[in-house]
Symmetry: C2
Subunit: 425 residues, 2 copies
Amino acid sequence: MQNESLTAEVVSIGDEMTSGARLDTNAQWLSRRLGELGIEVTFHSTVGDTLQHNIDVFRTAALRADVVVCTGGLGPTRDDLTRQALAAVLDQPLELRQSALDHIHRLFARRNREMPQRNEVQAMFPVGSLEIVNPQGTAPGVDATFQRPDGSTSRLFALPGVPAEMKRMFDETVAPRILESGANTRRHIEHHVMKFFGVGESDMEQRLGEMIARDHVPRVGITVSSATISLRISAIGESPQECHRQIESTRAEIMERVGELHFGDGEEFEQYHAVERMLAERGESLVSVEFGRSAVLANWFASLGESSTYRGGFCFAKLGELATVLDVDADSALETLRRRCDSQWLVAVDEYPSLECSDDQPLPAAEVTLIVIDPTGTVFSTTSRLGGHPSIIYERIGKAALAWLRRVLTEPRADRHDNPTAAAR
Amino acid sequence: MQNESLTAEVVSIGDEMTSGARLDTNAQWLSRRLGELGIEVTFHSTVGDTLQHNIDVFRTAALRADVVVCTGGLGPTRDDLTRQALAAVLDQPLELRQSALDHIHRLFARRNREMPQRNEVQAMFPVGSLEIVNPQGTAPGVDATFQRPDGSTSRLFALPGVPAEMKRMFDETVAPRILESGANTRRHIEHHVMKFFGVGESDMEQRLGEMIARDHVPRVGITVSSATISLRISAIGESPQECHRQIESTRAEIMERVGELHFGDGEEFEQYHAVERMLAERGESLVSVEFGRSAVLANWFASLGESSTYRGGFCFAKLGELATVLDVDADSALETLRRRCDSQWLVAVDEYPSLECSDDQPLPAAEVTLIVIDPTGTVFSTTSRLGGHPSIIYERIGKAALAWLRRVLTEPRADRHDNPTAAAR
């Protein structure tokens, strides 16, 4: 198999998916991962817990795709038909695999529970298929090769539907086996995620140019979540070292093109992590104040836990209310709060726009004032015009406030746009 | 067509779906709606922007399902191939439909823009197919009947991929046409959603028994989102009045079984809406305080906007920090805050557990103290043991606090579990 020309199909199994009771997120995750391996996903199929339907879907998939990854139907109940469907499609009987049974027994023993008889069925495998170890659960996966009538083959991987188990099994076993099966010697894959804020997706694509083309080596994928852009570099090479070299040089090239928008690396790394890191290095702390109709900043910083440099979050309709609570003038409310909280920094949003009457349509840009107070009590404020879909507008505004805070934290004093009256109003 | 025995397939079209760049939520939404019409969805298929693949998928779907609803591929660009694929499957040429072209022209005129030439293609329809009006966008839908070799038929509905447009077109045109096509006279459908908190999904299912069976009339669907349970009653009848009667009697039966867990009705109705309504009726107000690592209460109440009875939200690591900010003793901090905010009520969570080291696994139950202070300054506190997956645990705790607040707001004083020391610590 030459990865570059392989196609794949992702199959999701379960009545809860076809009925719409549950949203399928596995297919998206697997499609991205397969794409990173250089494999084009051409179809997704979802099928309920009906044996003949499963058999039909597996056969169709194996005939039209080189790699088939299916999730679900590997549990111990009578609803779980993936093993039987695979056996039928492969035309092989099911046999008990002792290594898999031992694993299931160990898992129950570790939980101090007796293994129910019905779980034994999870150790049944079509003759000739390989086991995919599930370190977290009782359902091992199945790895089988389907012989097409024309003599070519398709590789079928069956994984459990539980996302955490499925993801780990794909990364630890399925991806390496797909790479190993290639005729080439590029058998390692490494990922690296870079995060950006402050630009739209199409502008970002334009500035990256051919770097995000499908045939770029290494592959660079772009995704957007609530105005944060992630670039995921997926390097395939003969050794981890070669992968790391590819990632290093690609990362440097990306930084050259859009470095000023970059705030950190890592799948889960957000701007509030960047702010917390900057403050921790200085040994300084932060308090947030949000006027209007959201508390996204408080929610983000609160999620950092006890280790954080975050002093607290405040959320009011208007500045006057904060002043009343603190028992001070409106003019000095924010600065009073910063000092009473014993915090070096304060960030404030004034204010989140109303979503009333938005009717699920993008909101027109509204003027929002972003305020930062530094350890000397100096106020830095900027006014942004921010719009967007109701589902992301508050996060986008909160992120714009963090971008403003990062700028005040990093840029030399002289460059700052300083407007002390905006905060005092 | 007799709806009771119909099956359906949902088809999603676009490279952004097969590649995993975008999560498909349309298929889930359509599956639920079709289920409510009494139609069993047996397959979902997702296909990229490749003409032959689209033709193959449409044909397979039309051969195995009585109703096919596909989304995407109706835009004006060369990537958009749904019209051509439908024409090929139906074996009919495309023709320009003047009514559709007029609609597109009107839409551009309303936006004060010239219609680009390429949008004309959106008015092309396979000969013999019907138009599905799109009130919000330029892409009309297509409604066509596929003749199977055995003489039976399948109904194909093609809708745009934009969720807001797709949903409105399904509800306004596709659902009525599916009901009309039935041999029976039950051509109206009405929905009603009831909301519950305070019980797990399986307990709820057990208490509802046969009411949530697939063949129950009217159908009652159960879904869970972050520990809130929704029951959706879908009544199909000869008239809106008959539907309403079905809903009334089913709603009464549900209230008899699980009424004490019910907090309101409506798809978007949450506990914080219920609390706001109760407070508005009394002309009273609320302030929220959250210790630990979240600000979900502040976020929810802030989202209510200016009309709300919400005075403000506070989020700190520990009680001592609040006391410092207010410049009072820890013992009187919460009550001082309630009074300074000029609020009748206060609700507090002490405290959200850490998610560190949770490793994407459900957290063991942690003791969380939920505190309410009433207009007289009396403190009502209760300790709950709450666990769950990291992605929902904070919302579950916030919701438990709201359930406690609702109980204090509604139950006679004598029944309350009163423990003033817990808040003062």
